[in-house]
């Protein structure tokens, strides 16, 4: 199965000069993702929903499902309350081995830039560290994001985490 087309190139892929506005926006997105990753990597799960706008959509989907237009997600939240319920449940009701997950987010591609919104695609790599095993790749893929600006702050309207590592290595405990 060819998951996505190889060799398609959009205009945005070409080398070009950046305006200072674009540069600032890239830095803002980069800073957002650094803070987002930090909250999850430090285990401050209850702070995670703060990165989303009022009516957000969040999904973790395999490349197979995303490319095939199958709507299922291994996490699927279509309200802010669902994001909050998810992290509360992880903390209070789920059974799992202790672990540390570290995010690496890179390669932001900005598009559809408007005064109060933009779309971004970024690569992510999640490394999982268990206490008695070598570090392993938990997940690798891309964020398909839509940001909005609320009270001057960039927040996620939509984050679809599309993972290329299709065979899940046992469990995905935390949000990606």
């Amino acid at each position: 199965m060819m998951m996505h087309c190889v060799g398609t190139q959009s205009k945005d892929d070409n080398p070009r000069a950046l305006s200072s506005d674009e540069l600032l926006l890239r830095l803002e997105v980069d800073d957002f993702n650094a803070r987002y990753a930090n909250v999850l990597d430090q285990g401050n799960l209850l702070d995670w929903p703060k990165f989303f706008s009022k009516e957000p959509f969040y999904k973790i989907a395999s490349r197979e499902n995303f490319s095939g237009n199958f709507p299922i997600g291994i996490m699927y939240c279509d309200s802010k309350a669902m994001l909050e319920d998810r992290v509360t449940s992880i903390v209070t009701s789920m059974e799992f081995s202790p672990r540390i997950v570290t995010h690496f987010i890179s390669g932001h591609q900005l598009s559809d830039v408007a005064p109060a919104s933009l779309a971004v695609r970024s690569n992510f790599l999640l490394v999982e560290n268990m206490i008695d095993q070598k570090p392993s790749i938990l997940m690798v893929g891309q964020y398909y994001d839509r940001f909005v600006r609320e009270d001057g702050v960039l927040l996620l309207k939509e984050r679809i985490c599309v993972y290329d590592s299709i065979l899940i290595q046992t469990s995905i405990i935390f949000p990606v």
Binding site: I72, S93, L167, I168, T170
Partner: protein
């Protein structure tokens, strides 16, 4: 020294006795070696998965048109499930008769009329029969196949195929009993409840590696007692509780089982005081996920089927899925999930199912508990002096029970397993 080697063999890094004597307590104990021995695993592949069983290999809805195919894995064997020109479904081994190439690489797809092995371009039709070999007669009078080489002797291995309400099953055995009698009336009835005259819509797939023995997965499905204790989320929100109306149904020969449960409420009572995991004060800010739209006439809001040897079918409130269990080694299996709705679902119902799928799968609020705990069992068996599990719960020795405080369904499974395996 040689004598010692003949009675003991190093399997999977552990010493185990080659004679495999079952503990004297019989089905009330399960010895570690059924989960850890490479030799037992190889016997299971041969006697069970390639024996007189029906293996689930996919849904008709995945291959609606002639030439549509999907791959499946029956334990260690790769097969192609393809709809033929005549609309019939064929299941053929994904191994070129020439050099053994696993030639079909895509997970699913479509071919016009033939599968072509890329190595030397042997061609097989949709029934798996060899139809073309390049340079069969040689070039310029030189080379080529001998005259006695016959296409009909060099096709792909063809499995026996049967379907039930859109579910496709295949068998390596010509002597396997008819599918309906193999499944038994209980499983047939539950499959009909979910799928008869209700075309499904595929909502997607999960593919998940479990570092555990495949039988533990079946046992987990037949162990309703764990559901209210391990699964805090289920029990707290009333989706599965021992004081709900319940039944753990076991098929006549013990090989299949269905756990049925009615939905209850989130309320503390005499039962929940024994469940240290029960959280009376937990609540959801958005409880749409817990909603239940009744979809059949029966009393059950949940039915979890464990179908021997490689299938599980689930309706947990409105989250529907079929799961293929693919054993890889004594310590590992893959679980291939197909998440389902119905063709006639409203858009709202489909979104409801997608929300409810948060309960299950590799990131499931409930599912994670299982994938984690089965790994704990694997670790326990490897990091200890070998022993045997204690399967003592419940008054019935084997068979169907109307309580979840019983392990009778697990005992039934092992009674059947031991007979099949000669253990």
């Amino acid at each position: 020294m040689e004598g010692e080697l003949s009675t003991q063999s190093l399997t999977n890094g552990r010493l185990s006795t080659a004679s495999y004597t079952w503990p004297a307590e019989g089905i009330y104990r399960i010895p570690d070696w059924v989960y850890t021995s490479e030799e037992i695993f190889q016997r299971e592949v041969r006697e069970i998965f390639q024996g007189k069983t029906w293996n689930f290999v996919g849904l008709e809805a995945e291959i609606p048109q002639p030439g549509d195919y999907r791959r499946a894995q029956i334990a260690t064997t790769s097969v192609i499930v393809v709809r033929g020109k005549d609309g019939e479904i064929n299941v053929i081994e994904n191994r070129c008769a020439h050099r053994g190439t696993e030639f079909c690489r895509a997970r699913r797809g479509h071919v016009e009329a033939a599968f072509i092995c890329p190595y030397h371009q042997w061609q097989y039709d949709l029934k798996g029969s060899l139809v073309s070999v390049p340079f069969r007669r040689g070039v310029k009078g030189k080379g080529g196949m001998p005259a006695e080489f016959k296409f009909e002797d060099n096709g792909l291995r063809k499995l026996k195929v049967a379907t039930k309400c859109g579910l496709i099953f295949a068998s390596f055995s010509d002597q396997v009993e008819p599918l309906d009698s193999y499944l038994g009336p209980e499983v047939v009835s539950e499959i009909e409840t979910m799928f008869k005259d209700r075309p499904v819509k595929i909502l997607g797939f999960f593919r998940q590696r479990w570092p555990s023995n495949w039988k533990l997965y079946h046992e987990n499905l037949r162990d309703p007692n764990h559901a209210s204790l391990l699964h805090v989320f289920l029990s707290t929100f009333g989706l599965f509780r021992p004081d709900n109306k319940v039944a753990q149904v076991v098929s006549a020969c013990g090989r299949h089982s269905i756990g049925y449960s009615g939905k209850g409420d989130q309320q503390a009572n005499d039962t929940t005081t024994q469940m240290s995991s029960f959280r009376a004060n937990l609540s959801l800010k958005d409880d749409r996920m817990l909603g239940y739209t009744k979809e059949d006439e029966g009393p059950w809001s949940a039915a979890i089927q464990s179908i021997w040897p490689n299938c599980a079918i689930q309706r947990q409130v409105n989250a529907l899925a079929v799961r293929e269990i693919v054993p890889k080694s004594p310590d590992e299996f893959h679980l291939m999930w197909t998440l389902l709705g119905y063709q006639d679902d409203t858009p709202e119902m489909e979104v409801h199912r997608l929300r409810q799928a948060n309960l299950i799968g590799p990131g499931g609020l409930v599912g994670v508990d299982d994938s984690e705990v089965l790994e704990y069992v694997r670790d326990g068996l490897h990091h200890s002096i070998p022993g045997a599990a204690v399967i003592r719960l419940g008054r019935e020795r084997t068979g169907t029970t109307d309580t979840f405080i019983s392990e009778a369904a697990i005992r039934s499974m092992y009674e059947y397993y031991r007979a099949t395996m000669g253990l």
